[in-house]
Symmetry: none
Subunit: 116 residues, 4 copies
């Protein structure tokens, strides 16, 4: 795993793990790898993993059982809402950016269809 310099490692890591949850790599109720394991997998300090997981815990995507591990929430709704919120937020931001560049929705949709 390679991290870039544009945002803190811990945020990039929490983002990766959030996607893993959204995409079902870690399923509802699954135990995540331990802090130490993740720190080895991603080659970062355990403290950095803690901070990343703290973000996910703030979002209620995971919860902690002390001495036992960290688990994906059992509440499917939390995951679905997170996904939906993220998608809407990204869309809103993108559309408003494009509008401030002078594009209207029709043009925006055209650009997306052309992309790649």
């Amino acid at each position: 795993m390679k991290f870039n310099n544009e945002s803190p490692i811990y945020l990039q890591l929490s983002h990766v793990l959030a996607l893993d949850i959204v995409n079902g790599k870690y399923k509802i109720g699954d135990r995540l790898p331990s802090v130490r394991e993740l720190s080895v997998i991603f080659k970062v300090n355990p403290n950095t993993v803690q901070k990343a997981l703290g973000e996910l815990e703030n979002l209620n995507l995971i919860y902690t059982e002390r001495t036992n591990g960290k688990f994906v929430t059992k509440d499917k709704k939390v995951i679905d809402d997170f996904l939906e919120g993220l998608a809407k937020e990204k869309t809103k931001l993108y559309v408003s950016d494009m509008k401030s560049l002078g594009f209207n929705k029709k043009e925006i949709v055209k650009m997306i269809e052309r992309d790649e």
Copy 2:
């Protein structure tokens, strides 16, 4: 003008000024307000204005006439290319983000049409 804490002020400022150029508030060949004027207008340190203008100069959107001021490029193509590049970049990033969330293009377009 209010700046947030998510990215450096100088980048937010250069972004605002770039939009002002793209949208024709400052037209081809126009002289920009002086660093000091901008620093007053935006209530930021003159050093921050300098850095922001440096960004625009790197993009060739503006050029400096020493002792005379800073001017919007006279080359329309530079502005058009900048606009197009920005739009494509934002679109690419947005689409790839949405795909990693599990959406396909059809769904993306639908979300955009629904937005707001």
Copy 3:
């Protein structure tokens, strides 16, 4: 029985059992359920039950007859003193917390009367 993550399970458990004694669910001289039974009832590790009962034994609320089980003290005074001590301690802590928040006794009493 659900335990939270704010304090160790063994303390939460000893607290619950202490209340059971104070409130007469387990009466003077009663035999408590065995460690194994309690561990099943509360769905915790037997070690955790042991530790919880150890707390109660330190407080002299229970005593052990080896090979026979653990019993609620036969000394009513111990239970009464425990109850009184607990109540005073909680009150002292609460009042001092509220004072450090700027409330005086009159206001504290008013808040209590309003509670719920």
Copy 4:
């Protein structure tokens, strides 16, 4: 400043600072001492101060101006609500604890009036 072992230092520290805000030692809009200064004052590692201040920021009691410092919120309501919420929470917890010990409100009030 002395910290005890019952809860993490960073929480004790954030608690102390929250009280300082509630009690007006740091007033609305005031700049707090820098992270480094606090770390010297309280003889803890700057990282620990960061974590403590992070708690206060989560509560919106303070906000950060990058490169400039951390400031008490300018929103009096946030502080008032925090104070009220804290007081209500403590009261609720205290009363429910006392009730589970078998005391009724009248007895609780009597204990408070007798306290100290």
